[in-house]
């Protein structure tokens, strides 16, 4: 099964709009939403049946047993994440700051500290005989989104529906969750926005994808909102020998369609026909 990952460097560029259209066009049997911070794909793709949902345990977090605590201050001194605080002479750990490294546990002379597993998200899996859709929701303030992304992809791959193509809506940014979504995919399609910020984001995500030796292609969304910047993106791709595979116009119907819970290829619109073109070329690029 080949995996296509859709990324944008940042949200709001239309990554999910493109991903959902691709899923429809490919009649994809396997797909996933790796934007575990703010998953949106389920809002436009209707699922039948109840999903299977499972708690996701990220890094365990430290906990201090105040009955045992000798107030020696060693845990606070050694914690590099400033997660240990003392209020009214009572030691406690801020679960949002704790990274679960376990240093406090080993320096505590009276064994008052233990690492306890903590639910940090929820894995959601829709599956039928023919389709698998894996998504998740990170619990607020959890830092283990990279691990959760890896789980989302694992759950998708574990269900055999005979799919030869999987489409993955990636996470925004360039950090840990994105790196986790890139690992193991066959191709990355970057949805860029024709603006100064959009170009900067695109360059950074390309650099990141290159570190992981992923095959890359670029398309521009809302290309006609700034033709000059669109040209700049096209030139950049040419210079760096990155396949530039098309552009999607700004189309008022997109917002309306998405608000109705549909993808842009479910209705007749300019953006929809353009995305069809981008899809065809992506498939060619992926299966030369």
């Amino acid at each position: 099964m080949k995996q296509l990952l859709i990324l944008s460097g940042k949200g709001g560029t239309g990554k999910t709009t493109v991903a959902s259209a691709f899923i429809k066009l490919a009649q994809a049997k396997a797909y996933a939403d790796c934007d575990v911070d703010a998953p949106n794909l389920q809002l436009v793709l209707e699922q039948s049946g109840q999903p299977e949902s499972n708690d996701f345990f990220g890094m365990p977090k430290a906990e201090i047993n105040t009955m045992l605590c000798a107030k020696c201050d060693r845990c606070r001194e050694h914690c590099r994440f400033d997660a240990v605080s003392v209020i009214d002479d009572v030691y406690s750990i801020d679960p949002f700051a704790c990274e679960g490294c376990g240093v406090c546990e080993i320096v505590c002379p009276v064994r008052a500290i233990t690492l306890k597993p903590l639910v940090s998200g929820e894995l959601v899996l829709y599956k039928s005989e023919t389709v698998v859709f894996s998504t998740a929701q990170l619990k607020m303030g959890s830092g283990t989104s990279g691990m959760l992304v890896t789980e989302v992809k694992k759950e998708m791959k574990a269900v055999d529906v005979g799919a030869d193509l999987a489409i993955i809506d990636g996470s925004p940014g360039i950090g840990c969750p994105v790196i986790a979504s890139i690992s193991g995919v066959d191709m990355v399609l970057i949805v860029a926005e024709p603006s100064v910020s959009g170009i900067s984001d695109m360059e950074r995500i390309i650099k990141t994808a290159k570190i992981f030796h992923a095959k890359i292609a670029v398309c521009v969304n809302k290309y006609d909102t700034n033709l000059e910047k669109t040209r700049a993106i096209r030139d950049y791709c040419q210079q760096h020998e990155i396949p530039y595979i098309g552009e999607i116009p700004y189309d008022e119907k997109v917002v309306k369609t998405v608000n109705e819970g549909l993808t842009i290829v479910d209705v007749f619109c300019d953006a929809g026909s353009a995305v069809q073109e981008v899809f065809n070329r992506t498939m060619k690029e992926m299966n030369p």
């Binding site: 949200g11 911070d37 703010a38 590099r80 320096v107 830092g143 603006s195 819970g261």
Partner: protein
Amino acid sequence: MKYAVLSGKGGTGKTLVSVNLAAVAKNPIYVDCDVEEPNGHLFFKPRGIKNEAVTVKIPVVDEDLCLGCRKCVDFCKFNALASVIDKLIVFEEVCHACGGCMLLCPNNALTERDKVIGEITSGDSETVKVISGILNTGETSGIPIIKKLLAKIVNEKATVVIDCPPGSACIVMESIRDADYCILVAEPTVFGLHNLKMVYELVKLFNKPHGVVINKALKNNHLINDFCCENEITVLTEIPFDSELGQLNSNGEIAARKSAAYHDLFSTLLQTVVKEVEHETVAHS
């Protein structure tokens, strides 16, 4: 006063609002905490740039001293250490720099070195002091950079606008911890509403006074308004969907500096926010 500008996700206009808000304030500081994709400097084009590297401490092994006992390997919760044929390997990318391995080594075979993960740049743009953090590509966590950025403004009395990272993960919590007020930017789409709900939960959790700015507002769109109404959230302003603004913004221009109408819009927004904060202080004292 510190204002944090948040959105459930990128691309909703968080940077647009923060940049313009800073541009209309008096001698403000703009802090870009979106270290993965910092964009504020593209608008401000600050001058007199000063760079400062941000480092974390990564273990280095002295092979002559290593006993191959694996104490460090067994301890590391992030699998940043591996022992292969009695040789200790450090995977820097996943190391969280907790220092535990070093503490545990019975033969002092581990020491630490500084590894650069990004930098902080500061400069000036007219009267605005612009401070940005930038994470190097390939690095997994920008938290150390955000911490350093926020440490710079802890005792600031000036007006500080914090352009937060997108989402609602731990990294965002860091950014709003010291804020006096949170501005939530939302787009009137189902995605926008979904994302707004998440940051709203976050500011509630932290008990921060907050209000909503609707960006790319459409004439008859009630999605966000209804939500705000139900939850008694103040809608601070609506920024209309406007191709002039889009054009200025996509070319990296600051609308408030280029157009009188937008200067007014953001000045009014700033005044509204200042009033909201005053109101909160009265209500809570």
